[in-house]
């Protein structure tokens, strides 16, 4: 990997190679908390992507003015501003969903994913790179949440996006939509991702030989 990855490289990296949830274990609160169904999970991804992209843009624009010791405070306040906008928007146009997501929308402020992107990328890179990075990371975050939510909603309620997929005879696995199910599914998926990554690496080595 080159020292300074280009914008498109950063975009690709965010999706799978450096997936925020599976590879970096960042942003776990929403991954566990709102994935009992596809709808809340996707709303959450939308809100997080909005905040991540907007704050990356702003931080990248003001990167010349940042003072080292006040950096983190500026990042958090920037993020909090955009989270307030997203929260008010959800409350105005998607009232039911904002009730269901409850405190997890304001908790985007302390989502480590956003602060780490501001710190690692946006505060050092130009606008285009920062946007590409944020978009890639949001996509990766979306994929991760979608994978967890798919397993939990299908096994827990037999539906996907509220559409019945497993037929009416499916005995709902109640545990899947309850908190323990979130931990179990994420644990197994992280294990699966590791196993798959290892296997690909091993295959690549054998092919190389």
């Amino acid at each position: 990997m080159a020292d300074q990855p280009t914008a498109s490289e950063r975009f690709i990296q965010g999706i799978l190679p450096e997936n925020p949830v599976y590879r970096q274990l960042l942003g776990l609160c929403p991954t566990l908390a709102v994935t009992n169904g596809m709808k809340p999970a996707m709303t959450m991804v939308g809100a997080t992507a909005f905040v991540l992209i907007m704050s990356n843009i702003l931080v990248s624009l003001i990167r010349g003015l940042l003072k080292p010791h006040l950096r983190i405070l500026v990042f958090t306040l920037t993020i909090a501003t955009f989270v307030t906008i997203a929260d008010r928007f959800l409350g105005a146009y998607m009232y039911e969903m904002s009730k269901e997501l409850g405190p997890y929308v304001p908790l985007i402020i302390v989502n480590c994913l956003i602060i780490s992107r501001a710190e690692i990328c946006a505060s050092k890179q130009s606008l285009g790179t920062a946007v590409a990075d944020a978009a890639g990371m949001s996509l990766g975050f979306g994929l991760a949440l979608a994978s967890v939510a798919t397993v939990r909603e299908i096994l827990g309620a037999g539906t996907w996006f509220g559409i019945n997929v497993l037929g009416s005879g499916w005995p709902d696995w109640g545990i899947m939509v309850l908190p323990p199910g979130a931990f179990l599914v994420l644990g197994l998926l992280v294990g699966g991702a590791n196993w798959f990554g290892d296997r690909r690496k091993r295959l690549a080595v054998t092919v190389g030989e």
Partner: protein
């Protein structure tokens, strides 16, 4: 008696039944990151209790005097400025920004104070303090207090806010210390290679969450028992 029952209910609910980590999934980052050894995990737990109490007190003060709809200070300023007295003065749109500012600055001040005046204490948990700014558990406690202050049927007092903070902090400490104990035993076990590290930790947390679900309903039982005592 009523007050005592109420406070006890909030405490048990925050510490055990709706455990911050295992029920609301807040504070997962330190729960996964700092739970390798029991003593560091316990130190982290104490630091969280400490900061949570301070941040909750401050956010209760800010919410009840400034940020809630028709809070006294903005209403007073509004009346001095000669505004229309029928207007609903509501600054709650600022609450997230102010909370995160309060948390970040209180962490900073606590760290400076502890380093200067309590060097022993600083050695034991000072290193964890900067991490706590981004700990969702603290912000979550502030948000819960805000929710209960904006609800006119509840209107929490400072004692209730403090109980929530202490209960939540103790719940976090219990969860992270248990987790650290289990993980230090896990080192000796033969875990499949792919699950090593985060994977098995999540599965253990899932089983712990299942165990903590056993506390569900306990609050109502205790409440009934206590109200029976009061009636007698």
């Amino acid at each position: 008696m009523e007050l005592l029952t109420n406070v006890l209910m909030i405490f048990i609910s925050a510490a055990l039944i709706n455990n911050f980590v295992l029920h609301y999934f807040v504070g997962i980052c330190p729960f996964m990151g700092v739970s390798k050894r029991v003593d560091t995990a316990f130190g982290m737990g104490l630091a969280v209790i400490f900061v949570m109490v301070i941040a909750s007190t401050l956010s209760w003060l800010f919410t009840s005097f400034i940020l809630r709809p028709m809070a006294p200070i903005p209403v007073w300023i509004w009346s001095i400025a000669g505004g229309n007295p029928d207007t609903v003065v509501d600054l709650s749109v600022l609450s997230y920004i102010i909370y995160i500012f309060v948390i970040a600055s209180s962490v900073q001040f606590v760290e400076m104070y502890v380093r200067k005046f309590q060097p022993k204490l600083y050695e034991s948990f000072g290193v964890f303090l900067p991490l706590i700014t981004t700990n969702c558990a603290i912000l979550f406690a502030c948000l819960e207090i805000m929710k209960n202050l904006q609800d006119p049927t509840r209107l929490w007092g400072l004692h209730e806010a403090l109980t929530l903070a202490i209960g939540g902090g103790i719940g976090f400490t219990i969860a992270i210390t248990l987790m650290a104990g289990i993980r230090s035993e896990l080192d000796l076990c033969d875990v499949p290679k792919a699950l090593k590290g985060a994977g098995i930790a999540f599965i253990v947390a899932g089983i712990m969450a299942m165990a903590f679900m056993g506390f569900t309903g306990m609050d109502r039982g205790i409440e009934q028992a206590l109200s029976g005592l009061g009636a007698r």
